[in-house]
């Protein structure tokens, strides 16, 4: 039992004051102290005792009394005790200032503390303990430099003054100069080996901070040996134990922390760590208790921050995001630099992300990244947030970095792939594949979404087989396998019931009755749908059809499956069925823009214009004008309305065109990359005759359209060809049409073939035109207009042949047969009109028949003339041939003679050289004369023939020269023969005068007639006008096929699950700049 004895003044007696029984009222003690004039150290002891017992008021009362001016006066020469009292007060106020949170009060405490210390200094400026107090005050005020200075002064006063050493060590520790701090602590220890355990604690902490855990442990253990109740050492040891991360270590650590907690339940550090532990063991109640205590007792920012963090984490894990957010926020507020304690930033970021506050979340995660730039998780989260914010580039950067940091993180590759899908499908596929192999390496199940995405990408790259494998891998076992293998497909279907086969689900009902499991988990539907799309692409329509129906059987609300079935029906020209299917889809969702758009398209196809317009408008409204397909369709509608109307009003047409243009441009403004809108705009411009601009547009669209299997835009090729045509570049147009036919239509599109024929016609390539038209008839047998066109082409061909100034009898003969065919075709057509309505006037056909017959008569005369001429020609040729033959014979004889002479010459040579020379001279002479004679003969022959063409003569001459070089070795008869051939082929130049005149008259007649026809067909009007005129004569029958369906691609968007990035088929829409298709007469 500790007690103090207060000596009674002027006696030997003492008053015994038991320290643990100090009176509640300090005045009692003070009275005694004052009365007995007790030494000041007793005052201090008693005050300290009060303080220890938590009786702060009494403590303060005694000390304030003890430092009052009366005391100064009375105990004037007791210096040290007075200083000690002042220092105690200063230190007390320093402490108060430290704990105080309100700034003003804090400052007041600090000022008070300073005053006390200054007063102490005034009593003795050399007292080191005052300097220590001042140093500590500076420490509390975080003025490290000044604190260091104060401690230094104390050391100057008293070298190796332990408290100063410790103070300096503390400063160094705070400055993170752990080794310096350690040195100071060691010095202190050496100077004062029996110093409190806390010094060793400092040593331990220094070692700990320097990463020397073993030494730190030793120091802490030493502390505990000296002071088994030292909470700080217990906590420190506990933490080091916890950090070993072994079950044993954690166990030990927890025990130590618990002991610390038992010894002193307000140690924040222990509380935090315990809370942390209980968080992991899931004892949230304890966590809250502990952290609340920690918060109540702690004044240290970081500690509080940790406590808040524990609390937040506890709520976070319980799913109370609001509260978690609040506590994370509180935690973050306690942190000065994220570097000190970064976890709450992460937590706060998570909660904010969860609550949808992306920007705040992002800034928190970025703080985490500042501290841990290589944190994979954080990089991924940041990437994800950037995606949400639409900043794809930054997102890519983060995720890429994450994959670089940890090339084994499948999740990161998955995210990378998803990011890349829209921009770089190839890279996305690679990323997905990496993710897949990482999953497989880790023996984890590959997520179906991942496989689905891989499949879709392969699909888009045209790797259909791979895609099919991938989809099947994703789907695994199931009823679909049997369906794909075709096990259940064969059910006899009543032929009349076939119309509903696409909507028929009885197959599945039957299968279910048969006990076949039709399990189709929801998460597999998307992939199954994609597989069906793939089968469709592979033209395995029947299987695709079954799969779509299976989807609908299980999930009757799956609109896209209806739409694909409708598209399939539409492809097979079963319009009614297609419409019914779309109506099924609309039953599920009567505002589905896709279904409405498609319905509008079909209505357009079945020529239901007004309805189509309403439907398309509804589609546009349903999509809030955001679906460009509907807008485009309306644009197309207007365009077709402009160019089709039978009762053509230029005003109406202009309005429609303008409206169409407006709609196209609207789409372009929203989506500058929309090919179809660009194409549409090009079409409108072309309609207005701005060919150069439209050509540019079409060329760009064409470039853009190539390279994606989902974008099939033959229309732009056709439009380009039309522009070439309109500008008179027929050869280019022909090329373009042919390429388009080949590339997109397997040469089956009759419309394009018709364009091609038309181009040939304009280019006056009659035979090509005719052949093309015959092909079209073969492809589209029921289109009688084509027969009419062929008739016109043949008529035109004949007329132009007869107009030619040079023509052979063969030509004339073929012309005659062509004309007969034309007459037959026209007559057949006119007969056929009795039971068909083709849209051309019978009278017109009659006119054609009449004209052809007239031509035929004329041609007969021509034919006779030509034949007669040919006959004469033949005779002439015969004469010429005989002449040539005679000449030939003559020449041969001469040659022989020459040879003989030469032989003789050689013989002579042997005998006489002189004579030989003479001989030679003579031979030369002879030679010359032969040549001359021949030439002369030749010219005679030419005269006889009446002057053949220049070319032949030249050829003949050349030949002759060559022959001469060859020393007549060549067979001459061949030469003659060739000449004959030549003559046969050559156009006959001169004809009998009267015959020519006759022909001329007829030709003139024909020409006149013809030019009439021309006027209609090709006269000054623009191509468009011509077409219009042609169209204005059209009938219902033809219009049905003329405004070629504006909708190119099927509209079937594969899935609502966009994340899975499935095969989203382009919302195909197209339109054609329709040129005049038939030959208008």
């Amino acid at each position: 039992m500790a007690c103090v004895y207060i000596p009674v003044q002027n006696s030997e007696e003492e008053v015994r004051v038991s320290l643990d029984q100090l009176p509640r009222d300090a005045t009692d003690i003070l009275d005694i102290l004052k009365a007995e004039q007790a030494p000041l150290d007793l005052w201090l002891i008693i005050a300290r005792e009060y303080f220890k017992q938590g009786k702060i008021e009494q403590f303060q009362q005694i000390l304030e009394e003890g430092s009052s001016p009366e005391i100064d006066e009375y105990y004037g020469d007791v210096r040290y005790e007075r200083i000690a009292i002042l220092n105690a007060l200063g230190s007390y106020h320093s402490y108060l200032g430290k704990v105080e949170t309100r700034r003003r009060e804090k400052d007041e405490h600090f000022i008070a503390a300073t005053q006390y210390y200054n007063k102490a200094s005034r009593i003795d400026p050399h007292e080191p303990s005052t300097w220590i107090g001042k140093g500590l005050l500076c420490l509390v005020k975080h003025d490290l430099t000044q604190a260091y200075g104060q401690f230094k002064i104390a050391l100057d006063e008293v070298p190796s003054y332990v408290p100063a050493l410790l103070g300096q060590a503390c400063v160094e520790f705070h400055r993170k100069n752990y080794s310096d701090a350690l040195k100071l602590y060691k010095t202190a220890l050496r100077v004062f080996p029996n110093c409190p355990a806390a010094v060793r604690l400092g040593i331990g902490l220094c070692h700990y901070q320097m990463g020397q855990l073993g030494r730190a442990r030793q120091a802490f253990e030493r502390v505990l040996q000296l002071d088994p109740e030292n909470v700080d050492a217990l906590v420190a040891l506990g933490i080091t134990d916890l950090q070993t991360n072994h079950a044993d270590g954690i166990q030990n650590g927890m025990e130590k922390l618990q002991r610390a907690f038992e010894i002193y339940p307000y140690c924040v550090m222990a509380l935090n760590h315990l809370a942390n532990h209980f968080f992991f063991t899931g004892q949230h109640f304890l966590v809250e208790q502990l952290t609340e205590t920690a918060l109540a007792v702690s004044n240290h920012g970081l500690m509080k921050s940790q406590a808040y963090y524990n609390l937040a984490r506890s709520y976070h894990s319980k799913g109370d995001f609001e509260k978690a957010g609040v506590y994370y926020m509180a935690s973050v507020k306690e942190i000065e630099k994220p570097k000190d304690f970064v976890l709450p930033f992460y937590g706060l970021g998570q909660v904010q992300l969860k609550l949808g506050d992306f920007r705040s979340s992002l800034s928190n995660f970025e703080k985490v990244l500042e501290v841990h730039p290589e944190s994979c998780e954080t990089l991924k989260v940041v990437g994800h947030i950037y995606v949400q914010l639409g900043q794809t580039d930054k997102a890519l950067e983060s995720i890429r970095k994450a994959t670089r940091v940890d090339p084994r993180d499948a999740q990161a590759f998955l995210e990378l792939g998803e990011l890349l899908i829209s921009t770089d499908a190839g890279a996305a596929l690679d990323a997905f594949k990496t993710a897949r192999s990482l999953f497989q390496k880790g023996y984890e199940e590959v997520p179906i979404e991942l496989l689905n995405n891989i499949g879709v990408l392969q699909f888009e790259r045209g790797e259909f087989e791979l895609a099919e494998q991938t989809f099947q891998e994703a789907l695994g076992e199931g009823i679909w396998l049997s369906l794909i293998d075709g096990k259940f497909g064969h059910r006899n279907v009543e032929s009349s019931a076939l119309a509903v086969q696409y909507r028929d689900l009885t197959l599945f009902h039957e299968l279910e009755e048969d006990g076949v499991s039709l399990e189709l988990p929801l998460y597999k539907v998307t992939t199954l749908f994609n597989l069906a799309r793939l089968l469709e692409q592979l033209h395995d329509t029947e299987k695709a059809n079954l799969l779509y129906r299976l989807i609908l059987f299980k999930y009757p609300d799956y609109v896209d499956a209806y739409l694909r079935l409708a598209a399939l029906a539409k492809d097979r020209n079963n319009i009614q069925l297609s419409i019914d299917l779309i109506k099924d889809a609309l039953k599920v969702d009567d505002k589905c823009p896709n279904a409405l758009s498609m319905l509008g398209d079909l209505e357009l196809k079945s020529d239901d214009w007004v309805k189509a317009k309403d439907t398309l408008r509804a589609a546009r409204e349903a999509a809030d004008g955001k679906d460009s397909y509907a807008t485009l369709s309306l644009g197309n509608w207007n365009y077709f309305a402009a160019v089709r109307s039978e009762k053509r009003g230029p005003k109406l047409e202009a309005t429609h065109l303008e409206k169409a243009k407006e709609l196209y441009i609207k789409v372009l403004v929203e989506h500058p990359g929309n090919l179809y809108a660009a194409n549409g705009a090009g079409v409108v411009l072309a309609e207005k005759g701005q060919f150069d601009v439209s050509k540019d547009i079409f060329t760009q669209v064409q470039e853009a359209a190539s390279g994606n299997i989902f974008v099939q835009m033959p229309d732009v090729w056709i439009n380009l060809a039309h522009v070439y045509f309109a500008q008179g570049h027929f050869a280019l147009a022909v090329k373009m049409y042919q390429n388009c036919l080949r590339k997109f239509y397997y040469n089956t599109d009759t419309q394009v073939l018709l364009y091609l024929a038309r181009t040939h016609y304009e280019a006056e390539q009659w035979q090509d035109c005719k052949k093309t038209l015959l092909r079209v008839i073969h492809l589209a047998p029921s289109n009688y207009t084509l027969r009419f066109d062929v008739g016109v082409a043949m008529q035109k061909f004949s007329a132009s042949t007869l107009q030619k100034t040079k023509r052979s009898a063969d030509e004339v003969r073929s012309t005659v047969s062509e004309l007969r065919n034309a007459v037959r075709i026209f007559s057949q057509l006119s007969a056929a009109t009795s039971y068909h309505f083709h849209g051309f006037d019978e009278k017109k056909i009659e006119t054609h028949v009449g004209y052809c017959k007239h031509l035929l008569d004329a041609a007969k005369v021509h034919c006779e003339a030509a034949e007669r001429e040919e006959q004469q020609n033949r005779q002439r040729l015969e004469v010429a041939r005989q002449v040539t033959l005679a000449e030939e014979a003559r020449r041969k004889a001469e040659e022989q003679r020459k040879v003989q002479m030469e032989r003789r010459k050689q013989e002579d040579e042997l005998k006489q050289v002189m004579q030989q020379e003479q001989n030679f001279e003579r031979v030369k002479e002879q030679w010359k004369s032969t040549n001359g004679g021949k030439r002369k003969d030749r010219s005679h022959a030419d005269d006889d023939e009446g002057g053949h063409s220049e070319r032949r003569r030249r050829k003949g001459g050349k030949r002759r020269r060559k022959s001469r070089k060859d020393r007549y070795e060549e067979e001459e008869p061949e030469y003659g023969h060739e000449e004959m051939d030549d003559r046969d082929v050559h156009p006959v130049e001169d004809r009998e005068n009267d015959g020519a005149d006759d022909a001329q008259d007829i030709l003139q007649a024909a020409g006149l007639e013809d030019s009439d026809a021309d006027d209609d067909a090709a006269g000054g009007l623009s191509a468009i006008d011509r077409r219009r005129r042609a169209w204005s004569e059209s009938d219902e029958d033809e219009t049905a096929e003329r405004p070629e369906s504006p909708m190119g691609g099927e509209k079937g968007n594969s899935d609502e699950n966009q994340e899975s990035g499935d095969g989203r088929e382009g919302q195909g829409k197209s339109n054609r700049y329709i040129e005049s298709d038939e030959e208008a007469d």
Binding site: S495, N821, A832
Partner: protein, 322 residues
């Protein structure tokens, strides 16, 4: 089952080849291949070596759209876009008769299995014309009834445009395919229309009865599908898809186990009927394949199966079928 390419003749005609048929073997010669083309000629080819037999036969204006050989092998018919049918002696090439039934045009034609009648698809006349092969007189016109208008407003309903014909192996039934996709079945003996088979909505350019099961009819349509119908029961037995464009022609193997089809997608496909799936795809043609024909069995020492195909690319290809 398998197809193996034997031989191809490039530029067999000067223009697109549109029609092919086998002229059955006679006592004096083996079966011959008969082709018709846009170049207005009809040509005959020796089997296997595919060398030309005789000179090209003219006599047509506009393109030759179909050829048909009489089961005797002695005579054949060819028809062109000018709506004339020319019947000629196969060995001499001499014209036997020229048939015309204006204003009916001429598309597909087939001799009946006994060789007494030539059935000609009459195009826009919505009828099949039957010609007696001894007198070459028109003996009957089988009219395809107009379908009742599904919608009263629909004025576009006109008569069916008949494109193709096929005889049942017993000669009792005639089937014809039309542009709108319907297939009509006739009772030949009573010259009576029986019923329609529905399912196609695009032109049926070719159809053929199974030799093994006379009720079974195969149809090829522009919708890319081959349908298998029970022609008597009016029901669709199956549908096969796989061509990526129009299916232009179909023929069934003599054993009835396979059908071959030619398509605008430039391929010839062999379909295994037991699996109802494509067994093989031949890609040797470079343009639309307009005709496929299995060689009929018979003839001296000829056992192996042959399939011929002709195409817009002006070539003929011959395959071994086993």
């Amino acid at each position: 089952m398998k197809l193996a390419g034997l031989k191809s003749v490039e530029n067999a005609h000067d223009e697109s080849i549109w029609a092919v048929d086998w002229v059955p073997a006679t006592d004096r010669r083996p079966a011959l291949l008969l082709t018709g083309a846009l170049d207005e000629t009809v040509r005959l080819w020796k089997p296997d070596e595919l060398s030309r037999e005789g000179t090209p036969l003219g006599g047509h204006c506009l393109g030759v759209v179909s050829v048909a050989a009489h089961p005797s092998g002695a005579i054949a018919a060819s028809a062109s876009l000018d709506s004339f049918v020319r019947v000629f002696d196969v060995d001499s090439g001499a014209t036997i008769a020229t048939l015309e039934a204006p204003p009916s045009e001429v598309w597909g034609m087939r001799f009946d299995p006994k060789g007494n009648t030539l059935a000609v698809a009459g195009g826009g006349s919505a009828s099949i014309k039957l010609w007696d092969t001894s007198t070459w007189q028109l003996i009957a016109t089988l009219n395809v009834p107009r379908p009742e208008a599904t919608r009263p407003s629909d004025k576009s309903v006109v008569g069916k445009f008949v494109l193709s014909v096929a005889w049942s192996p017993d000669g009792k039934r005639l089937a014809c395919g039309s542009v709108d996709g319907t297939v009509s079945i006739f009772d030949v003996a009573r010259a009576k229309f029986l019923h329609h088979l529905e399912g196609h909505y695009m032109p049926v350019r070719s159809l053929v009865f199974s030799p093994s099961d006379p009720r079974v009819l195969f149809t090829a349509s522009d919708d890319g599908h081959i349908h298998i119908y029970d022609s008597e029961g009016k029901s669709l037995i199956g549908a096969m898809s796989g061509h990526s464009s129009w299916v232009l022609c179909v023929d069934v193997s003599p054993d009835g186990a396979a059908v071959a089809t030619g398509s605008s997608d430039r391929t010839v496909r062999l379909w295994d009927l037991s699996m109802r799936a494509a067994a093989q795809t031949m890609t040797n043609h470079s343009d639309q394949v307009w005709g496929v024909a299995f060689r009929p069995p018979g003839g001296a020492g000829v056992r192996s199966g042959r399939l011929a195909s002709v195409s817009d690319d002006k070539s003929i290809s011959l395959y071994d079928y086993s």
